[in-house]
């Protein structure tokens, strides 16, 4: 029982990271129908920025806000300069551009910072470990039915719930949210009711990258360092999460992320013999396959309804 609860909470906090990246994927997909392959790498770049702020002695709370701000600017600029010009041509062109961006950003991180995990005293880091948003000393845990649950896990989980709440309010009770929904549903008509669709798409990309940045920082905090490969598997899990939850449903992305995090940890823990730590990523693949076969629109995605 203790072990089960521990794995559950570990899974939830890991899954929260997937949820954050998946939320970014979903926000962009809803607006444009594009899958942003660079979502994870955009988040990674911002995570390095947060590391840099830490090096300059800024408290983590301030660093995160800066990192998310950089993320917003990066996402918005990407949409305007890279995506918009090719989006008119074809979805395939967008796919290639985001793949290119994926590679470029990863190279850029290595060029600016280091190909070693950071912080690293070898390259002169001032910080001991990557700053965590939540208490993460060895004795920062609470007992739940005998299981030691890290405060960090609970904090991350709550953070995702709060963020989801804010997004829910955004999508359902604000003009911006209404405009985003309208553009997602019918971009042509969105123009005809006076929605500035270009602005909406730019803001969507910015928002997606800012949320991704938060995911990157949280994951680096759990991981204690940031490195060039940090987001590779996270991106795969996040894609599985978005597929599971439904690519156009923010709520589905959050739940999908949490479910995948839990499944991953349970599978690695309980089926150690034949899944173990090495084959964990395979779990994501299985989930994607099963969902696509059984319910392609995902748990909460909208299967298109249209009467003609």
């Amino acid at each position: 029982m203790e072990l089960f609860l521990q794995r559950l909470f570990d899974g939830l906090s890991q899954g929260s990271v997937y949820s954050l990246i998946a939320l970014g994927l979903v926000i962009i997909y809803r607006g444009t129908g594009h899958l942003n392959f660079a979502q994870g790498e955009m988040a990674l770049f911002c995570t390095y920025v947060v590391y840099q702020c830490g090096e300059w002695g800024l408290p983590i709370g301030v660093s995160v806000i800066i990192g998310m701000g950089v993320g917003f600017a990066l996402g918005a600029a990407t949409e305007v300069t890279l995506i918009r010009p090719v989006a008119k041509k074809s979805a395939f062109a967008v796919f290639i551009v985001t793949l290119g961006l994926f590679q470029f950003l990863n190279w850029l991180d290595g060029a600016i910072w280091s190909d070693q995990p950071l912080p690293n005293s070898g390259v002169g880091s001032n910080q001991q470990s990557f700053p965590s948003l939540f208490p993460n000393k060895p004795d920062d845990f609470i007992n739940v039915f005998g299981a030691a649950i890290k405060l960090q896990s609970i904090g991350v989980f709550l953070l995702v719930l709060v963020l989801f709440g804010l997004l829910y309010l955004l999508f359902n009770y604000t003009k911006l949210g209404l405009a985003m929904n309208a553009v997602a549903s019918n971009p042509e008509s969105a123009k005809l009711v006076g929605i500035r669709t270009n602005m909406v798409l730019m803001v969507s990309w910015g928002l997606a990258a800012a949320i991704g940045a938060l995911g990157g920082v949280v994951f680096a905090g759990i991981n204690s360092n940031v490195n060039l490969g940090l987001m590779f598997t996270v991106f795969i899990y996040a894609s599985a999460a978005a597929t599971l939850g439904g690519f156009d449903s923010p709520g589905g992305a959050v739940l999908g992320g949490l479910i995948i995090g839990v499944i991953e940890n349970m599978a690695a823990g309980y089926a150690e013999e034949w899944v173990g730590q090495e084959l964990k990523v395979g779990v994501a693949l299985v989930v994607i396959l099963v969902v696509l076969l059984v319910k392609p629109s995902g748990l909460f995605g909208t299967a298109k309804v249209e009467r003609v």
Binding site: N186, E188, V193, G194, R196, T197, V305, R307
Partner: protein, 237 residues
Amino acid sequence: MTLLRTSGLRAGYGPVTVLHDLELEVNEGEIVVILGANGAGKTTTMRAVSGTIGRQGTVELNGTDITKMSPDNIVRQGVAQVPQGRGTFPELSVEDNLRAGAITRRDGMSKIAADMERWYQQFPRLAERRGQRAGSLSGGEQQMLAIARALMSRPKLLLCDEPSLGLAPLITQELFGVIERLNKEEGLSVLLVEQNANLAMHMASRVYLLETGRIVAQGSAAELSADDAIRKAYLGF
């Protein structure tokens, strides 16, 4: 007072020019109908006015040149288009569709809510389905929703692109009745393109005849129906 005037309007798609030097006028309080067969350039005319395709020449609204304006700014100038094939937001509820129609307005939630109630009274079927997704409505209901959505922006000029398309005659009649009433009671100016000449001519202040991107005849409904050739070609009697 001239509300809309186009002069030398040319528009098309890529290398293909569909409209050739179109001269159109809509005066305040008029219902102007453009008649034309398939491929005459009716929808292109609507798009050229609402700014959703590239255009040359000039389009003036209330004396302001709107030729260079983007579609969203043209809506802000008071032009609302009901696109062909309804163009509702299928995944959004009826109510959110109407809210989206009012997205350019700056005059406060209570006035927007009051307008919404008004269109619900005008179209009771929409009121019954206000929480339902627009995509699940019937064709006639979607057309009503598209018109109500356009009216939510409180336009000075309503552009209607073949509202009768795919609708039963009775529903079409109902829709045209609403448009006519809005025109009489509120002074709403309307530019409407149609293939369905009989119904549309009935309520038109003036009629233009469009053939392969050119205006070939214009006048009052009575004048045009008096012309034998036109009557045979467009009215079928």
